[in-house]
């Protein structure tokens, strides 16, 4: 085995490690997607005073497997008057774009592995890109094509209306979403996700952007206190949260698939695995959005206890696993919130949706940028 590794060049080893990372992350994400669906059905069931799925396996835990088999075995119908190539490619675009953005997310603390003293790679992040945040935003904006094309290619009025609504909504809320993140980027001084997390991991829970970002003052005289810059980011977080719900077409902004008016919206004509791809894309997007919220406002994989516990607590393996557990716990909270909101709030009206995005969220996000940069300029 070591002999084999010796014969590989640095680039080949890097490629090998990257492929292994991609496969592992993909499998974990898809499993998480399947179990988020189960979580949603279970939680909504309990919130509506019923059990939710409980027959397949203990506590209904094998339900995602049964759902998957059902979707696989269903007949794949393609209506006659569709635009075939676009009809086929739309779900692929939606799912791929939803899955690619996970590649830039750092899941744990930095752990470099060195193989044969040649290549080293960070095992808890697939790609460490210095404009990581922009890459996520870019890929999310490409995902709109999946929705837009599916509605158009279906040649169905409900699907077209659904995809028009979805496209208009995503374009409108993308602005507020992107602008709400600028304050955090200004504070970290970098678009690299690791840097943004590092700024928030100095004093545990108190350094998180959502709680005001307790940190050493920028003048470096060792004074410790809340930076005023951090205080504005609470506002930015709520803008982000609302824009993200609209971006992922989730309740209370789920007009594109409003079943009482549009049958099922843009995926009305899809069946079997093509429908499943849209379904998985929606939940993968939820997970991505939760990842970004965790990284930008909740300190990513850093512990809320800060350095109260020693950094090598419980040996090297536990010390590597703890950050991942924190990260997963934070994402779980966001997914729980998503589902909670869905079972609590009624749907917006279309004009309310547009007014809210353009006349409220966008100006507030801009004011946040101005305030944050003013404070940063006056202090630094």
């Amino acid at each position: 085995m070591t002999h084999l590794l010796d014969s590989l060049s640095e680039f080949q080893i890097f490629l090998l490690i990257t492929i292994v990372k991609v496969v592992v992350v993909l499998v974990i994400t898809l499993t998480a997607v399947a179990y988020t669906v189960l979580l949603e059905r279970k939680l909504i069931g309990r919130m509506q005073n019923r059990w939710g799925p409980s027959r397949v396996g203990p506590f209904g835990l094998l339900q995602p497997l049964a759902d998957g088999i059902k979707l696989f075995l269903k007949e794949d119908l393609t209506p006659l008057a569709t635009e075939k190539p676009l009809f086929l490619i739309a779900p692929i675009i939606a799912l791929t774009c939803a899955l690619i953005s996970v590649a830039t997310v750092p899941f744990g603390a930095m752990h470099r592995v060195v193989v044969n003293g040649k290549a080293n790679a960070d095992i808890f992040q697939i790609a460490d890109i210095n404009v990581g945040l922009l890459v996520i935003l870019g890929i999310t904006s490409i995902g709109v094509y999946g929705i837009a094309l599916s509605g158009w290619a279906s040649n169905n009025k409900f699907a077209l209306l659904g995809s028009l609504r979805a496209t208009a909504q995503v374009i409108s809320y993308e602005l507020a979403l992107g602008l709400s993140l600028v304050g955090v980027v200004l504070r970290a001084g970098s678009l690299r996700l690791r840097d943004i997390v590092d700024v928030q991991s100095t004093h545990g829970l108190l350094s998180w952007n959502i709680l005001g970002g307790f940190a050493r003052e920028p003048d470096g005289h060792g004074v410790v206190g809340w930076t005023v810059v951090g205080g504005f980011q609470l506002l930015a977080f709520f803008i982000y949260l609302m824009a993200a719900y609209a971006e992922t077409n989730r309740s209370p902004f789920d007009l594109p698939e409003a079943e009482s008016e549009l049958v099922a919206g843009y995926h009305t004509e899809y069946s079997s695995m093509k429908f499943a791809m849209f379904f998985m894309a929606e939940y993968a997007n939820m997970i991505t959005v939760s990842c970004v919220a965790t990284l930008l406002f909740f300190g990513g994989a850093s512990s809320p206890l800060g350095h109260l516990l020693p950094d090598n607590f419980g040996g090297p393996i536990l010390a590597a696993i703890f950050p991942i557990l924190w990260f997963v716990a934070k994402i779980f909270c966001f997914l729980f919130l998503y589902i909670w909101v869905r079972s609590t709030l009624p749907r917006f009206r279309y004009d309310q949706l547009m007014d809210f995005g353009w006349k409220f969220l966008l100006p507030v996000a801009m004011a946040n940028i101005v305030a944050t940069s003013l404070v940063l300029a006056l202090r630094g």
């Binding site: 676009l86 890109i129 210095n130 404009v131 922009l134 890459v135 935003l137 870019g138 890929i139 999310t140 904006s141 490409i142 709109v144 094509y145 837009a148 094309l149 509605g151 158009w152 077209l160 995809s163 028009l164 496209t167 208009a168 374009i171 993308e174 992107g178 678009l191």
Partner: protein, 168 residues
Amino acid sequence: MELALFIIFGLIAVAGALNFLFQRHPINSALSLVTVMMSLAVLYWSLGAEFLAAAQVIVYSGAIMVLFVFVIMLLNAGEEERTTGSRMAYIAGFPGAAAIFCLLSFVFLTERKALGNANIGGYLNNFTSNISEISTVLFTKLLLPFEVTSVLILVAILGAVVLARKEQ
């Protein structure tokens, strides 16, 4: 590595551009244009300009082209009709285009020394790709063009509002 990326995505970009011209349906043309934009972004990335690549994807593929597709969907534009073209186009168009091509290649070839040359699949230095460097240049040396461009876009938006407003 950079050379391989350059060749692959350069070919995809050219193929996308040709497909853009030959497709009959506007939505297929718009999607070919998206392909061109995306392969350009990959070329920027392989040159080491990550920020430019990300901006290209967000602005062109993610915002402008989505609006194009949206408008085509909304207006339900039909397939374009092909005609054989006017006779003037054949008489003046093809020789004219050939003449311009010859003129341009002549000028480029004679001025080769003054223009300098670049390697295929090269890599930019870090100064041009760094975000803080870009913003420093943008807000000091290029401040006037930058601000003038924003005024130009504002004027365009005002024009669109005036055109779309209902008569009272």
